[in-house]
């Protein structure tokens, strides 16, 4: 459906996108996720045709559209600021894409109304615009100007304007970031419903991982103009490709510790782990320096020491209602302090000052010092096909 082929974008000597390649399947909801400045909006604008790539090709529906104008690409886009035409009514805003795609004779100021194309256009607008408005709960607002609408309504008009014709591709540039929290959750669900009912391909840019995680079929995680990982939300969370993906996804975030393996086993910072699981991991990893990532639900608080528990100070306990989140400080022998987060069920007790932090080794992630994921053989879940066959 949409294929990006080694897209590079350079703005006055600064390369903001480094040879990005990506294939989006037809009907897929894909999110471009990343912090501001990671190049996600630039990438979206290149797909839309509002910017052209410095090198690389864009294919939509099997055509190389790199040199096509935005309108010829037949895409629809929803902007962060909605970009509604302030001087047009809601009806005219939604009708505008239909009007612009009509033959020029239909668009002549007065004469156009009497041509057959003009009548066809008027009929099309009469048919499509109220139906679209109805579908998006804008029924009574058709004669209003954008300045008389609330943020959520503006957002809906922008969606209606994008949906009214049959575009091949929907692009959305942080469409929910100007809404308040409650409305955002509602609109999120509406957009998911729209995606289901239209079956179109959506490319959604966001910096909000909750939006990306809840809405997408797949997420493209970007950092500094390169793709860090492409995968389903569960994959990004449960199987991060690198330290960036692991730390970016998840709230509260993953706890990261220095970790070393030598002949005597595995150490987290200055604490040597003495249980069997850690010993096995050390064997699988091999000697060296690593970084260990542990999600808040992949660890426990123990009231007393154990073979693989680390002493920690309880800094803060956050009550979330369904659970609590304990923020710990772990002090290594050299004085460095590493923060850690633990999800604690409501019926467990949290010691007031000192607790013991114990990782669940099965769910621990290891990274090399460059941040790449290391999959120790023992915890490797995927058995290579060839070996399985034997």
């Amino acid at each position: 459906m949409l294929q990006l082929d080694h897209i590079t974008k350079t703005y006055t000597n600064v390369e903001v996108l480094h040879s990005l390649s990506l294939t989006v399947r037809s009907g897929e909801f894909i999110s471009l996720l990343g912090a501001s400045g990671c190049g996600k909006t630039t990438l979206l604008r290149i797909i839309a045709g509002l910017d052209s790539p410095t090198s690389g090709r864009v294919h939509i529906g099997g055509n190389d559209v790199t040199d096509w104008t935005p309108s010829r690409r037949n895409i629809a886009m929803v902007f962060q600021s909605y970009a509604l035409y302030p001087h047009k009514t809601v009806r005219e805003n939604i009708a505008f894409p239909l009007r612009m795609r009509a033959p020029w004779t239909a668009r002549l100021p007065v004469w156009g109304r009497f041509t057959s194309e003009g009548k066809k256009l008027a009929a099309l607008i009469r048919e499509k615009v109220p139906a679209m408005a109805e579908a998006l709960n804008l029924g009574g607002l058709l004669e209003r100007k954008p300045s008389q609408l609330s943020g959520g309504q503006k957002q809906r008009v922008a969606l209606a304007r994008a949906l009214v014709r049959e575009p091949s591709l929907f692009l959305m540039d942080e469409p929910l970031s100007n809404l308040d929290a409650k409305l955002r959750t509602e609109m999120r669900r509406e957009i998911i419903a729209l995606h289901r009912s239209t079956g179109k391909t959506f490319v959604y840019v966001t910096h909000d991982q909750t939006e990306a995680m809840t809405m997408s079929d797949r997420i493209v995680l970007l950092n500094k103009g390169t793709i860090q990982q492409i995968g389903a939300p569960a994959e990004l969370y449960g199987d991060p490709a690198n330290l960036f993906a692991a730390t970016f996804i998840g709230s509260p975030g993953i706890s990261v510790f220095p970790c070393s393996v030598d002949g005597d086993g595995l150490c987290i910072g200055s604490f040597r782990m003495r249980n069997e699981a850690a010993w096995n991991l050390a064997g699988a990893l091999g000697p060296g320096q690593y970084r260990l990532g542990i999600r808040p639900e992949s660890c426990f608080l123990c009231p007393s020491g154990d073979l693989d528990a680390i002493p920690a100070a309880v800094r803060l306990v956050e009550h979330m209602g369904n659970e609590r989140i304990a923020h710990l400080d772990i002090r290594m022998a050299d004085g460095a302090v590493f923060p850690a987060c633990v999800r604690v069920p409501n019926d467990f007790c949290i010691p007031e000052k000192h607790a013991w932090f114990r990782p669940s080794w099965r769910h621990a992630f290891f990274f090399d010092m460059a941040g790449n994921r290391i999959r120790p053989a023992a915890t490797c879940r995927v058995i290579p096909l060839k070996k399985a066959a034997i």
């Binding site: 309108s71 629809a76 886009m77 902007f79 035409y85 047009k88 505008f96 100007k145 300045s147």
Partner: protein, 300 residues
């Protein structure tokens, strides 16, 4: 409402104290003279006369039947009808061109077109006098170079002089209106154009018709009123270049007023012209305030 904190309360004298200088100047130099002008226009008082009598609308009846005044009024209207649409279209066109050019070249052209605005018109008049001279002027030289035999007396031909003046006025003021248009254009968000492009507005004319022109309406209306007011205010080039001549062919409202008041010392006549002039200006300003005040707020 209760005042919070002491720093909010000022001594009672502060507000009137701050307002007094500005108010005093405004009343002394603007409101009082204006009222006196209006009053004088209903009397037979002329400069130096010791006493006066009220004559009602006699002065107005006089000027409105005076062929010289009517000619001056007609000239002013003709000048306005030429200058307003031409400078409007030119300044908008230049602003659009400079905006689409952008960058350093855009700035360069902007400066070039703005230069005449900064020039003193009286000084420039001398230059124009030389440029338009029928014998030694550069225009005459250019015309003869291209083979035109007739010598055109740009500033002394009854049928041409108004057009010549219109040209000079346009030359001087277009850069000014252009800069105002440029600020208006800057206020249109780039996303409007991008959205229009995606919606299918491929050709520049369509984008101008559907985005630029409607979103520029407040600026355009402002410029429209401003060009009328500025053209009505034209005085210095007429004084410096033609003195209303030849045969009052370039005599315009303000020049007539000046002549009546300071050459013929018919203060009462000058005052009634000034009052009419004031009414027109006031009407235009109120209209502009009314329209711009109740227009829809186009910014998002």
């Amino acid at each position: 409402m209760k005042m919070i904190g002491k720093q909010h309360s000022l001594p009672w004298i502060a507000c009137p104290g701050f307002l007094f200088p500005a108010f005093a100047a405004l009343i002394l130099f603007f409101v009082l003279p204006a009222l006196m002008t209006v009053a004088v226009s209903f009397t037979d008082w002329t400069l130096g006369k010791a006493d006066f009598t009220w004559v009602g609308f006699d002065n107005y009846a006089y000027i409105l039947t005076d062929p010289d005044f009517l000619k001056s009024l007609r000239n002013t209207v003709v000048l306005t009808v030429i200058v307003v649409p031409v400078s409007f279209a030119l300044s908008l066109g230049l602003a659009l061109a400079i905006r689409s050019l952008g960058g350093r070249w855009g700035e360069l052209w902007q400066t070039i077109y703005f230069l005449p605005v900064t020039a003193s018109l009286v000084a420039m008049s001398v230059v124009w006098q030389w440029v338009l001279h029928p014998e030694v002027g550069i225009v005459a030289w250019l015309l003869s170079f291209f083979g035109a035999a007739a010598k055109i007396n740009w500033l002394n031909d009854r049928d041409i002089v108004l057009f010549t003046l219109a040209f000079i006025i346009i030359w001087q003021m277009t850069g000014y209106y252009m800069v105002i248009f440029l600020t208006g254009l800057l206020q249109i968000p780039a996303e409007m154009y991008e959205a229009a492009q995606i919606d299918g507005a491929d050709c520049a004319w369509t984008r101008f018709r559907h985005i630029t022109w409607p979103l520029l309406t407040p600026t355009s209306f402002f410029i429209f009123i401003l060009t009328i007011i500025k053209t009505f205010q034209v005085f210095d080039i007429v004084k410096a270049l033609t003195r209303g001549g030849p045969e009052k062919a370039s005599e315009i409202l303000l020049y007539t007023m000046y002549q009546e008041g300071f050459s013929f010392f018919r203060t009462n006549i000058a005052a009634s012209i000034a009052t009419l002039y004031l009414l027109v200006m006031l009407g235009l300003t109120l209209w502009q305030n009314y329209v711009l005040g109740r227009r829809v707020n186009y910014t998002l």
